[in-house]
Symmetry: C2
Subunit: 465 residues, 2 copies
Amino acid sequence: MVDQSTIAAISTSPGVGAIAIIRLSGENAIRIADKIFKSPKGGKVLVEQPANTVHFGHIIFNEEIIDEVIVTIFKVPHSFTGENSVEIACHGSVFIQQKILEILVESGARLALPGEFTQRAFLNGKMDLSQAEAVADVIASSNAAAHKLAINQMRGGFSKEINDLRKQLLHFTAMVELELDFAEEEVEFADRTALRNLTEKIEILLRNLKDSFQLGNAIKNGIPVAIIGETNVGKSTLLNALLNEDKAIVSEIHGTTRDVIEDVINIKGNAFRFFDTAGIRDTEDYIENLGIERSYSKLEQATVVLLVVDTENPYPIIKGRIDKIRERIVQDQTLIIVANKIDSGLNETIQQLEVLDLTDNEKVVFIAAKQKQNLEELIDFMTAAINFDLANQQDVIVTNARHFEILKNAHEAILRVLNGLDSGITGDFLAQDIRECLHYLGEITGEISSDEVLGHIFKSFCIGK
Amino acid sequence: MVDQSTIAAISTSPGVGAIAIIRLSGENAIRIADKIFKSPKGGKVLVEQPANTVHFGHIIFNEEIIDEVIVTIFKVPHSFTGENSVEIACHGSVFIQQKILEILVESGARLALPGEFTQRAFLNGKMDLSQAEAVADVIASSNAAAHKLAINQMRGGFSKEINDLRKQLLHFTAMVELELDFAEEEVEFADRTALRNLTEKIEILLRNLKDSFQLGNAIKNGIPVAIIGETNVGKSTLLNALLNEDKAIVSEIHGTTRDVIEDVINIKGNAFRFFDTAGIRDTEDYIENLGIERSYSKLEQATVVLLVVDTENPYPIIKGRIDKIRERIVQDQTLIIVANKIDSGLNETIQQLEVLDLTDNEKVVFIAAKQKQNLEELIDFMTAAINFDLANQQDVIVTNARHFEILKNAHEAILRVLNGLDSGITGDFLAQDIRECLHYLGEITGEISSDEVLGHIFKSFCIGK
């Protein structure tokens, strides 16, 4: 089933570094490395060396020394891919990296596809599919929370959860099928109450997993934060102050920011995905109106909404805007009213905002974005708004959109079982829905997979992994 | 003499990759790695493992698994630095790389300075100073020729040349000092003719080395090519066609390119450093005149001058420009007249250019830069203009500005010896100049060095090397 060719790729980050790693995997990996490698002391050739050893020598091609390298040998099945593998650590010049890759191809290897090393590890049974997918997440994770989830999934935490679920489902099937065996005797072997309790338990497990995706996705991709407000109140300035760089255009002209700009920044170990939005104001500019429409749609997607108001304006105007936004805030969202420009704001406005009546999911914070005043308090409010403590989060959290889709299907199947029990359908129909549920879970771990699915999963990997 | 602390750095190219390498070196390198590394099978700790072996396991900190890694152990003196060393191959997320580095620092390592691994290799006698310097050149080399020179220097080719020179100088000193021993007897032991022959031989060797720097520098940094011509003849278009990208601004407005743009591209294994220059025309724009001035100054620095002319213009205008540039071309320069826009040019102009009288260091090539027509012939002319064949270049070529400065000093000292021989000064004066010459050569290989010199050399290295 696994392609027997030997694949090669540069596995370190592209560009110049002190060291770069070129990776080879496949039946002939060590033989191919041997063709171009020469130890200065003579000594044994690589194929005669034991596994898990490193060797200093030269990469030589057409009698020319290309580089001094360290070669590491791994042997089947004790390697990442489960195949014979070689890692060549060369000097990190782009020229040398490319040259060695070229020479390897001329010597019998072929260029690896994205994620092909990990795909082989999966196909050779070194990890299940959800673990393989986690490898990409581990590499991509840019904050402590996402990293922790990805490492847990790569190490099989999620697989264990799925396998526990499978066990429960198999127990259910066993009970139902026992009943089917005695069908002629019209005995209800499986106590309907016990069966219902078990189904409810499985339904809760599946629902929790499915529901954890919202959090998982927020951790992986950043908690969505919309920055909204009238034009010129300092939304872009605030974003820039938070980003500490200048990605958004800040100018004195009203309506500068027509496009929704997205930026992810890590604050206190959490990733926030900021949507800077077009200012909301009455305008006849068609394009700008489109931008405002988009602002509102982004508002719906946000977990935290920062409504920026300019304290230089009279309070009634600001209050009007706050009320308008409040109408759009739903239960799970946190609205933070960011009273900006307090250095130059109207006393009256600031005083009124200070005594504004707030609901449980509302906060007011007074800042001066340009002077970076009081941003710390804003950040504290934002962090508090997420309201999760990963350290105390015992359950597995789903972070992968593919898993989420599958879990939704599995959950629907188990709901059909529950309905079936209520309407008193026969055991064989119940068993069918359970088998469907089992099938879905198999897709997560890769026990059931197609080339198409695998192709789709691994094409998003980087080359060399 | 060598700092005994254990240093740590990320040694692969910065950014996200499949794999990243974190390097540790120093007496406690393996002990520090042991503190944070745990093998899943239990088994021996790292300090008990043999040298040159690799080990799979986890980096653990505060009971949390940071990553699954492969750790390679090197032991004193058989490592790059000559010290105990550890290389940790982790997943290439920036978060993980930074985290592991942090943990290593908390466990007793300190962050390495730029080039500190190579500096330790030098201080521990694993390589001489010119070899250490070549390590940086190997990493920076972006074309076949520069790479070949750097690898040769790193492998000690240049050191051998310097040592041969030292031997000759010591032979000279021996002859002179023998004479000094018998000074009272007024015997001229060292035959003045033999002495003169030897000095001349040394002088030639030093001169050749010194003179090779022009070529070496061109190979290392790119052969300087000036693109010059009137505004709007298509200089930027030509550069872009050669670069196959759009770094220069190309527009219909005369005088767009005010700044000299430099770009290095590799053509047929040679690096060319292109200077796109402001168009030469009569203008009263002060800023633009400054640009034109700069164009002329760049002309002097070029090995190859590409004079781009627009064949849509009448021949006399073009001839006038050619004659003006010819005045500025010196002996070692090659002038290539690039007749552009041949798709829309005047027949009369093209015909006249075809029969233009040319000197040995002049060429005419007919192209259409916009359509990328006939660029191949232009490239052939440029390549021919460099007039060196590295494969047949037997001698060592100096590429390092520091070495060049030292060789100039050494050469001046040997010229003083020659003059001394001519004017008949005594042996002890001759010996003094020879000792000065020996001193300089020692600075190249690092037998004579100061902290200041070392600091200056290694600070230009990347961190992790």
